[in-house]
């Protein structure tokens, strides 16, 4: 009897917030202390940031984490 564990997909609105503030990926990367490649990977969904980085991004945009990152549930 194995329980079906829902697969969580994390989506983000980082590119939207960045566009609203007219920031380049390079500028945002510098502000939150990562490389531009990491911002590209987060926006593309290829990398989920750590809690620390998520909080840094949220703090930079003066909002909470849920506004930027949300969860879509999928069942496997």
């Amino acid at each position: 009897m194995s329980k079906t564990v829902p697969q969580l997909t994390i989506v983000n609105r980082l590119h939207v917030l960045r566009a609203e503030q007219r920031l380049t990926q390079e500028q945002l990367a510098k502000e939150v202390g990562v490389t531009r490649a990491t911002i590209v990977a987060i926006e593309g969904g290829g990398y989920n940031p750590s809690l620390e980085l998520a909080f840094r991004i949220a703090r930079f945009f003066k909002t909470d984490i849920q506004t930027i990152f949300s969860v879509e549930e999928e069942t496997i």
Partner: protein, 198 residues
């Protein structure tokens, strides 16, 4: 200690190319490809010995420091592979690349182990020892030799066979195997890391 580690690593990496060049020269010297009476040959051969002694001493210190110091390990991996972890994503990729390197190295080690144990011999026996009129024989075996002198050689007179083909253990020296493994680790890590970072 940080300064000592940095000096140690620099000395090791700067002596390494000289060590490789002198090792190639020493090999040519020992095979007679280089004129042994030339004054530069003796000097370079002596210098090679000194470089080997120095590199060995540095390797011992380096290995000891690598075993006990975690920050030094991070520093060394960045210098050897020319890849630095600039943020958390790259640290995450380092883990993935290290896992790939570990698993591929393990696979290579298992392959080398199997090859070192495998024995095959294709030979002919004299007509009086033919089995069902057949003089061509093939033997397959698995030999585990834990010590270098642990091989049991069968006396020739009891076999009286003529080898057509024979394979026993790895056809390369233990030095070559170790060098192959070192190169594999570095190349595999570098390749995995660069592929993941794309």
């Amino acid at each position: 200690m940080k300064r000592f580690d940095s000096l140690l690593l620099r000395a090791f990496l700067y002596v390494l190319p000289l060590f490789i060049l002198l090792a190639v020269f020493a090999y040519l010297y020992s095979t007679g490809a280089v004129d042994r009476n030339a004054p530069y040959a003796k000097f370079l051969n002596s210098l090679g010995g000194l470089a080997i002694a120095l590199e060995m001493a540095l390797s011992l210190c380096l290995s000891f420091r690598l075993l006990i110091s975690a920050p030094f390990r991070d520093h060394v991996i960045a210098r050897i592979t020319l890849i630095r972890e600039r943020d958390e994503r790259e640290a995450h990729l380092t883990g993935k690349a290290a896992r790939t390197t570990f698993v591929t190295s393990l696979a290579l080690l298992i392959l080398l182990f199997c090859l070192s144990c495998f024995q095959v011999s294709l030979y002919r026996v004299p007509p009086e020892k033919a089995v069902d009129g057949k003089t061509g024989m093939i033997t397959l075996g698995l030999g585990l030799h834990f010590l270098n002198d642990g091989k049991l050689e069968r006396p020739e007179e009891t076999i009286q066979k003529k080898d057509i083909f024979s394979y026993q253990g790895l056809p390369v020296s233990s030095t070559s195997v170790i060098l192959l493994l070192i190169a594999w680790q570095i190349i595999s890590y570098n390749y995995s890391m660069r592929r993941l970072m794309k």
